[in-house]
């Protein structure tokens, strides 16, 4: 870097990117922040109302239960998609026969659009023709049959099961890359010490992939916070408002109730929640990769000591 001398005309190279970024990323962001302090219907001039929208957020029962829902969603996302991604990666790490086949099959759902996936799953969940109810009937479990997406008791979990299921392959691939960076000696010494697969997983694989785990947790949690498509397409927030999440509620407030100011406040809330989670998880020392590596080295020495 630095071979080429700077000339003023190089600023022209930056112009398209800067113009588009400022015009349609930075400016809308500032605009959202500002209009969250106004009452605005999107047509007439906005009226400044101070923090009224933010106060109202806390009195909005649908939004508050929506926040509870995305927290549950985030927890399940971390447990299931990140957890299974890591477990599958640990299983595939040794390049079992069929490695290429399994990774290709598991990753394919990741590239399918939310819209196509929701269409397939709304058919699968169908009361009459859905494969889930038909399978239950086939095994004589007819009493479990359900209108999965229109029963308030199951609708939310049925809807979030789709993105959780779809993303497992994404986390699998991240962990496969991370596990390849773990020096083989760790596994070698665990093997020599007679550590079984579970012990190897908890003593070597898990502690040494904490760096990637941290990134994956942030991705899983923030995606639960901001996802709109699956809820909107599968249940549209219903029945009642029993599956409404902040993203769908923001859409309805803005584009159907024309409360732009209030919608902007919800948008800012989604942004702040994602930022807080990223900061907490990325900043915590508990997950620091170096500490983890030291820890693993110590554990291995301990195992060695016991064995000797």
């Amino acid at each position: 870097m630095g071979t080429l001398k700077f000339r003023p005309w190089y600023l022209l190279y930056l112009l398209p990117a800067v113009a588009l970024y400022v015009g349609l990323f930075v400016y809308p962001f500032i605009e959202t922040a500002i209009s969250s302090f106004t009452s605005w219907d999107g047509i007439t001039a906005p009226v400044f109302v101070g923090i009224q929208n933010y106060v109202q957020l806390f009195h909005d029962n649908v939004l508050m239960s929506g926040i509870l829902r995305i927290l549950i969603w985030a927890a399940l996302a971390v447990l299931v998609k990140v957890g299974l991604g890591l477990v599958f990666a640990a299983m595939l790490r040794e390049r079992l026969k069929g490695y290429g086949f399994f990774t290709s099959v598991f990753f394919f759902p990741v590239v399918i659009s939310s819209s196509a996936m929701s269409l397939i799953f709304s058919l699968m969940y169908d009361k009459d023709i859905g494969i889930i109810n038909q399978t239950l009937g086939f095994f004589g479990l007819g009493f479990l049959q359900h209108a999965w997406l229109s029963d308030p008791g199951t609708a939310f979990f049925a809807a979030i099961a789709v993105p959780i299921y779809q993303d497992i392959g994404f986390f699998l691939v991240i962990f496969l890359a991370a596990l390849q960076d773990i020096p083989g000696e760790y596994y070698e010494s665990a093997r020599i010490d007679g550590a079984g697969p579970f012990k190897t997983f908890f003593m070597v694989t898990l502690p040494l992939s904490l760096g990637s785990l941290r990134v994956c947790i942030v991705l899983a949690v923030t995606s639960a916070f901001k996802t709109f498509d699956y809820i909107f397409l599968l249940t549209a927030g219903g029945p009642g408002n029993s599956t409404q999440v902040p993203a769908t509620w923001m859409y309805l407030q803005t584009f159907q109730s024309f409360k732009y100011g209030y919608g902007a406040a919800i948008a800012m809330l989604i942004f702040v929640l994602s930022l807080v989670v990223s900061g907490l998880v990325m900043g915590s020392n508990m997950f620091s990769a170096r500490a983890a590596r030291r820890e693993a080295a110590r554990e291995l020495r301990d195992i060695d000591g016991v064995m000797a």
Binding site: P16, F102, L123, I129, I174, S212, F232
Partner: protein
């Protein structure tokens, strides 16, 4: 290599194969956990394939057959559902709209990202780090946060009525992350080649076009396929920005078909299959690049 050498080499390879397979076999015998691993992996394979096979099968079956029982293999290959899907819905035009919109967005993305990444990665100047950091701030902002303000800007400037103007919003959404990846790629290029070109009197523009761009083609392919997937699959921007049926993209056309033809199960299955087939073909050719790109992108980001 002589014929003899070839023969020996192939013998050696057969030997290695045999010893590897016996080793694998004895590993399974000594370690039942491998069987458990295969069982779990097979189970997940089934869960990945069944939804698609079931939908594919239903796209050839009549409603009566679909109601009677589920089947992963159709009783007959009846393309009636595909014909009515193509003639009665706007899914086909949605498909072409998606092709045009995604294509235009990628072209615009390259125009924005490539020269900017070149300047930010290969030239040292006063505000280089500041500008780069300014772009990186965006990584913390989810796209949905900008939805309504972007919509207001489009409505206010009349962009809403210009066909394909949505590509501006898509490109703006992709610029920060792609710039970040491209700068990382371009920084790794060895400076001696451009020094030589400079001595030969090449201009900055020629160095960019003839040295830096060809040498960062892996990075270019990576940002292209990652952005392709994310723009092609977008739903919410297309839903808000393109309300007219004739301008809808594939994702929105699928969703509106679902609302309109609630009980035409064959038609809906055919629509889902039409959406998946192009992605599947794309996936066959790019899966390794996609996996590498997504994992390195996620970890770096």
């Amino acid at each position: 290599m002589t014929a003899n050498g070839l023969l020996q080499a192939s013998h050696a390879r057969v030997g290695a194969d045999r010893s590897r397979s016996t080793r694998a076999f004895s590993r399974v015998l000594h370690n039942p956990m491998i069987l458990v691993a295969y069982l779990v992996l097979a189970l997940n394979t089934v869960s990945c394939l069944v939804p698609i096979l079931w939908t594919l099968s239903n796209s050839f079956r009549s409603n009566t057959q679909i109601f009677a029982r589920f089947s992963l293999f159709p009783e007959q290959f009846n393309f009636g559902a595909y014909v009515s899907m193509l003639t009665q819905t706007n899914i086909l035009s949605g498909f072409f709209n998606s092709v045009i919109i995604t294509g235009l967005s990628l072209v615009l993305l390259f125009i924005c990202v490539l020269p900017a990444a070149f300047v930010l990665s290969r030239i040292r100047f006063a505000f280089s780090k500041v500008i780069y950091g300014f772009f990186l701030l965006a990584i913390f902002v989810p796209g949905i946060v900008l939805l309504q303000a972007t919509y207001s800007i489009f409505a206010g400037t009349g962009l809403l009525n210009i066909p394909y103007a949505i590509v501006l919003a898509y490109t703006a959404g992709q610029v920060p992350f792609c710039l970040f990846l491209m700068v990382a790629y371009m920084r790794e290029i060895d400076p001696t080649i451009e020094e030589a070109a400079l001595v030969d009197g090449a201009s900055g523009w020629r160095i960019f076009l003839q040295i830096i761009l060809p040498m960062s083609r892996n990075g270019i392919v990576t940002i292209m396929i990652l952005s392709f997937v994310s723009i092609w699959n977008d739903y919410i921007y297309a839903l808000v920005f393109l309300p007219e049926p004739q301008r809808q993209t594939l994702t929105v056309a699928l969703a509106s078909a679902k609302g309109e033809y609630t009980v035409s199960y064959g038609l809906l299955s055919a629509a889902a299959i039409l959406a998946i087939v192009p992605v599947f073909v794309f996936y066959l050719f790019t899966k390794n690049l996609l996996m590498n790109g997504m994992s390195s992108g996620a970890v770096k980001g």
